[in-house]
Assembly symmetry: C2
């Protein structure tokens, strides 16, 4: 880099004066300015109901609880009917002692040690999921960084490098180096002179040299400088320890043929941009915080069977678990229904034909997770992997290392297998057919190819298969562009006295933020209708 101007003390103080007095300072990016990026402004401005208006909400997930919280604040009388004996919906956390009987009759038993847990559903928050983060701030949910990208974690293919996992940072930096070298060659050969000005060409060459850590001939080769970027075979030490030895890059051809570069692309997503976050102590801390606000209006164990509409309101029929399944009715002026479409499609719902078609049109994505508890954090102690995600072409697809309890001595839990049926991968269908024990066996058998310590350190496991959950029948609404064009607007529109919410009514499927924003949007429109 060029040497910047170095002011003397007097010059520096003069600069300060000039800066302080300047009128040309760039326009401040205020909260208002940035809010434009988001449908969420932090200000709902509900006008509130006419006298004594009642809203019935179906489902005590984040959408239903947020709707209840905001509508009650605005003056509506609210009630939530929840099918399960718990709040939180798909945002849940399993801890030692938890038991869950899945469809098919198998019981999932979680026997993790105190303080250990796993999140079968959402497990991390992008920093731009402002609505969720803003409620966490308001409700005092403590947040910690979730390590998504760890350059020390692995990418792995059974068919490359003799099955030996490669560090993410190595693969990424080597590809960057090779790409820089090749483009440098092209630029020097003048191949791109028609596309790039001479001035840009020089800047670009200078930049590629630093970005790709190229030598003076623009080659990507082992060097001391490369050690400072890619790491070392023998790292710099203290005193008279052995001489530093920079690590050797992987050649372009084997790297390309390995397919491992593709795995690194997993980190490209805007949603995975650093930093990500997680609540301290498990994802259910978020929904628990909402529940603290609205627990008094949630009726658990209420299995809705029918949503009837009149001109002026709704009548919802449900089996009341607290009274031995006795069928009961609740009436209200409005109904906000957050029941997953996979379940809702099987209920008796009064709504337009268009909405009924929309409800039936969206398939639900399959997804599974297996979590394994080990006696010690061997991934930290042996492999220097503190947090982050390893990707592999093995059917376990990814291993996520915990972002909490770093360096502690006791047992810890890996999210040892996870995938959804997207991006052309359908491993999840196979895993969904397995018994809970078979899933643990599979996660161990595959995972030990990456972490041979599995055998010696394994304690217990738990798993989750979203297609075996009777209250969701899948993980999330799997929209295509065609389905969106045909049904999305209908699905979200207020249908007489009924409006739907939940991640399926959003452009952010499977994320808490989508669910929450869908609820905030629905209640704003409902409130406008109420006051129209």
């Amino acid at each position: 880099m060029p040497t910047p101007f170095t002011p003397t003390r007097r010059q520096l103080l003069t600069m300060i004066g000039q800066v302080a007095g300047t009128a040309a300072m760039y326009q401040a990016m205020t909260s208002l300015g940035f809010a434009a990026e988001s449908g969420y402004t932090g200000d709902l401005s509900l006008q509130g109901p006419r006298q004594g208006r009642r809203v019935l909400i179906l489902g005590a997930g984040i959408a239903g609880m947020a709707a209840a919280y905001e509508m009650r604040l605005a003056g509506y009388e609210v009630k939530i009917l929840e099918y399960q004996n718990r709040h939180g919906g798909r945002c849940l956390t399993m801890r030692g002692g938890d038991r869950y009987t899945e469809m098919g009759g198998h019981e999932i038993a979680c026997d993790f040690q105190d303080g250990n847990f796993f999140n079968p559903g959402p497990w991390r928050l992008p920093v731009h999921h402002r609505a969720v983060l803003d409620y966490c701030r308001k409700f005092g949910v403590a947040m910690q960084p979730f390590v998504m990208k760890n350059n020390k974690a692995y990418v792995h293919s059974q068919h490359a490098f003799d099955g030996k996992p490669q560090r993410i940072g190595h693969v990424e930096k080597d590809m960057r180096g090779h790409v820089s070298e090749l483009l440098g060659k092209s630029l020097q050969q003048g191949d791109l002179d028609g596309q790039v000005t001479l001035e840009d060409r020089e800047k670009l060459l200078e930049g590629l040299k630093e970005w790709g850590v190229l030598d003076s001939q623009y080659r990507y080769r082992v060097s001391d400088d490369l050690g400072g970027v890619r790491g070392y075979d023998v790292r710099p030490g203290g005193g008279l320890m052995a001489d530093t030895k920079p690590s050797e890059p992987i050649d372009l051809s084997p790297l390309l043929q390995s397919g491992l570069w593709d795995q690194v692309f997993n980190f490209n997503s805007y949603s995975f941009d650093p930093p990500m976050f997680e609540p301290v102590g498990g994802m259910d801390q978020i929904t628990d915080a909402f529940a603290r606000e609205v627990a008094d209006v949630i009726q658990l164990n209420a299995r809705v069977t029918r949503i009837a509409q009149t001109d002026n309101g709704v009548i919802v029929t449900y089996a009341d678990g607290a009274r031995g399944g006795e069928m009961r009715e609740e009436s209200a002026d409005w109904c906000i229904c957050t029941i997953p479409l996979s379940v809702l499609g099987q209920l008796d719902v009064d709504c337009s034909d268009a909405m009924r078609r929309a409800i039936g049109a969206v398939p639900y994505a399959s997804a599974f997770k297996v979590a394994l508890e080990f006696r010690r954090r061997f991934w930290e102690q042996d492999d220097w992997i503190m947090g982050g995600v390893t990707y592999t072409d093995l059917p376990l697809v990814q291993i996520a290392y915990p972002s909490y309890g770093f360096l502690s001595e006791g047992p810890a839990v890996l999210q040892a297998a996870y995938d959804t049926a997207t991006a052309g991968r359908t491993f999840t269908y196979s895993w969904s057919t397995m018994t809970p024990q078979e899933r643990i066996d599979a996660a161990l058998a595959f995972g030990r190819q990456i972490h041979p310590q599995y055998d010696a350190e394994f304690m217990s496991g738990a798993s989750w298969v979203w297609h075996r959950v009777d209250w969701s029948l899948g993980c999330y609404g799997e929209w295509t562009d065609g389905l969106r064009d045909a049904h999305y607007e209908t699905l979200c529109k207020i249908d007489n006295r009924l409006v739907l919410a939940g991640e399926h009514c959003s452009h952010i499927p499977a994320w808490l933020e989508g669910s929450l924003l869908s609820a905030l949007d629905a209640i704003q429109r409902l409130d406008q209708r109420e006051n129209a």
Copy 2:
């Protein structure tokens, strides 16, 4: 990506059997295997002293305290003489109520609110600094991720984009996109056919398309896919919120001319690879943990003036602050001296001429920091910057956002200016001439160009200038290749009964790890000499 093979349940279970039985599993990366990367093995294997042997250690920084801890464990009698009235050396944390009078007579007053702090010296730990992390594990120092790279933080130039800061993720992804497009063109034109095989060319084109988010004609253009990687002008919402609008990339030429790509290269360093870590509650938690182990052998307020050597031992003369500065002597069989060379060079030391020249040869780098406390976390609330570092060509060089207390409501502290006199930048010399108040004024005046909220939210500030610290006279030993060749080995070698340690005796200057490894290496050599 190609669709992977999807096994049936039966096939999957068969695969597991095969995998479990395979003998060709890659060789386990055990702790032993990885230790080869590091001079630190976690196993010192000191043989211990002959009867009643005494070691005098000068300086209660991490090097001195680690030496004391390990040598006492091995059976040596140890004592530490420390100049200051505190342990920890350059690893220190300032909190509300702390006062420090720097050389020149100005007092730095830190008036931060409870729970807020700033680290004038080391402030983050790379994950491969295994020795420090291993002691933290052993001593139970809780560790949390330190957000180094935040794609939402800024790069900024006064002379680019009308002085408007740009998101790091935008600049990085745009450069990646443009580089991919250009290399894609070259490859398609056949410019590199001599360098890349046809098969690699296809793989590379496929990879560049995904890495750079290129369209079907290998162009880097705004698209829905690009939104999913680069972000949005209007982000995906819930319900019937406004339509998603992907953000527009910056063109190649203005981006190159802005120099902002260069700033992103700051994150290239292996030391900054994600994830980095920090102890919960301030960096002094690390040295406090060492001090808990060795406090009983530390004598504070002991100003060493002379290190004399005999054939069989050392005699150290010091002014004893506990007795009004009375001159006293301590004898020992060995002396481990961790006093910075900048100070040591001014003391009366019996050692070889070669070592004396080495001590005098290494200049000490200048470095400064300014920390500012603000009423609220506007960087999080307004700018969505949660942790990380912003770089700028303003003389403040960088702003670091706290990696603790995320989303909390109260006052918080930015490391609002920081630089060392390296990489051709010498801003730190100017800052070092300013009074503490002038530094705060300067950090505010420059910083408000990036965060206009400074004016409304400022509460108080503190600063640190390493060349105004009488016990270090600079920040760290600034080695060049030439100086290393001439003096490093001499400096580290045992000189009769004296051996030096500290970051200046390492290949990792300015980092705790260098200091710690230098001590571990020195005591191993000393122990071998003792037992020779």
